[in-house]
């Protein structure tokens, strides 16, 4: 990511700051991506609270909870990988990244399983949508539209994150060095962001109607 020959050793050190700031600026834009989606959710929750709560009870709480644990653990793996790589333990760092990728794929698999279940239960918005026992089908359908849109957008970001982690893993083997560490840190920031989005999505989508 460098421009032409750096002018001083300081410049190399500042490159890490640039990469970090660049990722934070990008994450700022990502907040504004997910923001309107949450806004649509809040709008629906405000307009049709009962429909949204009833619809949220139709989500698979077990899958959602397991996925939350999976993602949180993967974030731990990212932090560990970064720590190890910083210390020069590239082999172990790569193994940590293996775990991260596997956990990420597990998340996607569980999500895929949930989507198939939702399809079978006629919860996919469209002409065949029907939520059992719901009075306001239009409101419930809107909930599921937001649910699919938000989780699909999240899954897309997670897939990008997995690709980034695989790229970092390969770089750790091929060219371990400062640029790779910078990339790993940036990818780590991104992964944590995807995790945080899920931490907001999970209660909004899965726990809304399940207060005890």
């Amino acid at each position: 990511m460098d421009a032409a020959t750096p002018d001083s050793a300081q410049d190399i050190g500042r490159q890490a700051a640039r990469t970090r700031l660049g990722m934070w600026a990008f994450l700022g834009s990502e907040v504004m991506f997910f923001g309107p989606v949450f806004f649509a959710y809040l709008y629906g929750r405000f307009m049709w609270p009962q429909a949204f709560e009833a619809a949220s009870r139709g989500t698979d709480l077990l899958c959602g909870a397991v996925n939350t644990a999976v993602l949180l653990t993967s974030s731990l793996g990212v932090a560990v990988a970064h720590l190890l790589a910083d210390r020069g333990a590239y082999g172990r760092a790569r193994r940590a990244l293996d775990a991260v990728v596997l956990l990420g794929l597990a998340f996607l698999a569980i999500k895929g399983y949930e989507y198939v279940q939702d399809w079978r239960e006629q919860l996919v918005p469209g002409p065949h949508f029907h939520l059992q026992g719901a009075v306001n089908q239009a409101g419930a359908q809107l909930f599921y539209f937001v649910y699919f849109f938000a989780t699909a957008l999240h899954a897309l970001h997670l897939t990008a994150g997995i690709a980034l982690m695989l790229h970092c893993r390969r770089a750790l083997r091929r060219r371990p060095g400062r640029p790779t560490l910078r990339r790993l840190e940036a990818a780590g920031l991104y992964w944590h962001f995807v995790d945080i989005v899920w931490i907001f999505l999970f209660p909004a989508l899965y726990l809304a109607g399940r207060a005890l």
């Binding site: 640039r18 834009s29 991506f33 002409p127």
Partner: protein
């Protein structure tokens, strides 16, 4: 020509000896241009593609004004007309105005102005251009396949249910160009934070840099909202869900809120860089520091912040609550304050200056005058009861063209002429340039001033045919458009001519301050042989005597 000759005399001993070392000579193949990470070359890639889109959008406008010579339909039919004004809006907003000054002059000049060798992420910069070009191709494809007829604002449910044109293809193009904007914004933000020359604190930055920085913040925060809005619209169109479609339980006003939440800050993306350009040109040709530098910098930030809070002024008659309308009206009046401050400061900069009327200065002064007028009519639109009458009429059309064409396009041309020597190493023919500036100014006013009157008389916008009473003003407007067309074609001609036959330019033909003028013309690929010190204050013109 006087500005050239005495500045040339001052700079004679600084004329660059080795022209072959410039970035222009750093590879002659097409691939060397298309794969370059050099911000200067990428700026030129943008300039070429933006100019092409400008003329496509302008052709659509020309056909529209031709049709509007007469009240009836005689040039195109209604469907075609609707596709023309949509194409004009989509292309001019997203393919021309939003990228224009930041991606061409921000790219070229900003690293030079802060004493850097390039942007923070040169490869990301190249990716930005490819995203822009790719998105542009989608838009061209949609155009060639027959276009889209929803208006650039894509209001639902017309766009999501009723229109049977290539909506999704167009949305895809806009979405991809949006990613280009975000990448550019991230790049500029990191560049300004981390690549400034030693000693160059924030309050030593040229105002153009402040303007690009504020624009970049808006790009990064507002564009994603557009992306999501367009995705939701596409989803509604493809999956027939009822988010914005009332027949399925949705709310058309939700679309308007989401759309305008982006599109209002978007217009500030278009004008802030133009203000930055004016703040470079006017001090240079008045030979004076900008008046009230700090106020100018804070005004830029103030405009950027408040711009996010006024979107509802596009919806005063939409059915939103009266309270919402009042809040948005009040905030819209507030955003006019920092804009007004800037006009006052530019005027005060001229006081006790030593003013030369080169083409860039003519464009900059034209910008101030036309932006002032456009801004004043913004007050009409912020006034609730007047807006109820003039919204969705030609009054609004006139207002935003005063700002976007009278403002942003004039500033773009001013920037082009100002930095032309630095970019190409050639001087453009000054007499032709001044003539073109005057023709553009005259043509512009004749085209758009009658539209204010048309709007108050009641002619709605997006009208293919109109009641005969409106004809006189329409004829004036179309006549002006013809003059404006001539005015725009002239720079295309003489600027291209100057690339091959213009006189070689000295390093600093204007005697301007600013780090970009302290390196060779054109600059070498690595910008500076030795990175400069940035501790001099900006606009460091010596005090004038007499």
């Amino acid at each position: 020509m006087s500005a050239h000759s005495d500045a040339a005399a001052v700079n004679a001993d600084r004329a660059a000896p080795a022209r072959a070392a410039s970035y222009l000579h750093d590879g002659y193949t097409l691939w060397s241009w298309l794969s370059s990470r050099d911000h200067k070359r990428i700026a030129i890639l943008y300039a070429v593609s933006i100019t092409a889109f400008f003329f496509i959008g302008a052709t659509a406008a020309a056909l529209m004004r031709l049709e509007l010579f007469t009240p009836g339909a005689d040039v195109v039919d209604a469907d075609t007309y609707n596709r023309l004004f949509t194409a004009h809006g989509v292309i001019m907003v997203w393919m021309f105005l939003i990228p224009s000054i930041p991606s061409v002059f921000g790219n070229f000049a900003l690293p030079l102005m802060i004493g850097a060798r390039d942007l923070a992420f040169p490869r990301l910069n190249l990716l930005s251009w490819y995203l822009y070009a790719g998105g542009g191709l989608f838009t061209i494809a949609a155009l060639l396949l027959g276009g889209v007829d929803t208006g650039w604002t894509f209001y639902t449910p017309y766009s999501s249910v009723f229109s049977n044109t290539h909506v999704i293809l167009t949305l895809a193009g806009v979405l991809i160009v949006g990613f280009s904007s975000i990448a550019t914004g991230v790049n500029f933000i990191v560049t300004v934070h981390t690549l400034r020359a030693p000693g160059m604190g924030w309050f030593k930055l040229p105002l153009f840099v402040w303007a690009i920085y504020a624009t970049s913040v808006i790009l990064v925060l507002a564009t994603p909202v557009l992306a999501i809005t367009l995705l939701l619209l596409a989803a509604e169109r493809v999956f027939h869900v009822g988010l914005f479609n009332p027949a399925l339980g949705g709310d058309p006003l939700l679309f308007q809120h989401l759309f305008w939440f982006y599109s209002h800050p978007a217009v500030y993306i278009m004008i802030l860089p133009a203000m930055g350009v004016a703040s470079e040109i006017i001090p240079c040709f008045a030979r004076k520091r900008v008046f009230g530098y700090r106020f100018m910098a804070f005004a830029i930030i103030g405009i950027a912040v408040i711009s996010f809070l006024v979107w509802g002024h596009h919806m005063f008659v939409s059915g939103q609550s009266a309270y919402a309308s009042m809040v948005f009206s009040l905030l819209s009046f507030m955003v006019a304050v920092p804009s007004a401050i800037k006009v006052f400061n530019w005027t005060a900069t001229l006081y006790k200056g030593s003013i030369s009327f080169t083409a860039p200065m003519l464009y900059a002064l034209g910008f101030v005058v036309l932006f002032l007028q456009g801004g004043l009519t913004g007050l009409f639109l912020a006034s609730l009861s007047v807006d109820v009458h003039v919204t969705d009429t030609y009054f609004v059309v006139a207002h935003f063209h005063y700002i976007m064409v009278g403002g942003a396009v004039m500033a773009y041309l001013g920037a082009a002429h100002y930095w032309w020597p630095k970019i190409t190493g050639r001087l453009y023919p000054e007499s032709w340039a001044r003539l073109a500036a005057l023709i553009i100014f005259a043509g512009f006013n004749l085209t758009f001033f009658p539209q204010y009157l048309l709007g108050y008389e009641g002619m709605p916008r997006r009208y293919h045919t109109y009641p005969p009473d409106f004809q006189v003003l329409n004829v004036l407007s179309s006549a002006g458009a013809a003059i404006l067309a001539v005015g725009y074609l002239l720079p295309l001609g003489y600027l291209l001519w100057s690339c091959l036959h213009g006189r070689p330019a000295p390093d600093n033909p204007w005697g301007a301050s600013g780090l970009e003028w302290k390196t060779a013309t054109p600059p070498p690929q690595h910008n500076f042989d030795r990175l400069p010190d940035g501790s001099d204050p900006p606009y460091d013109y010596p005090p004038l005597q007499e």
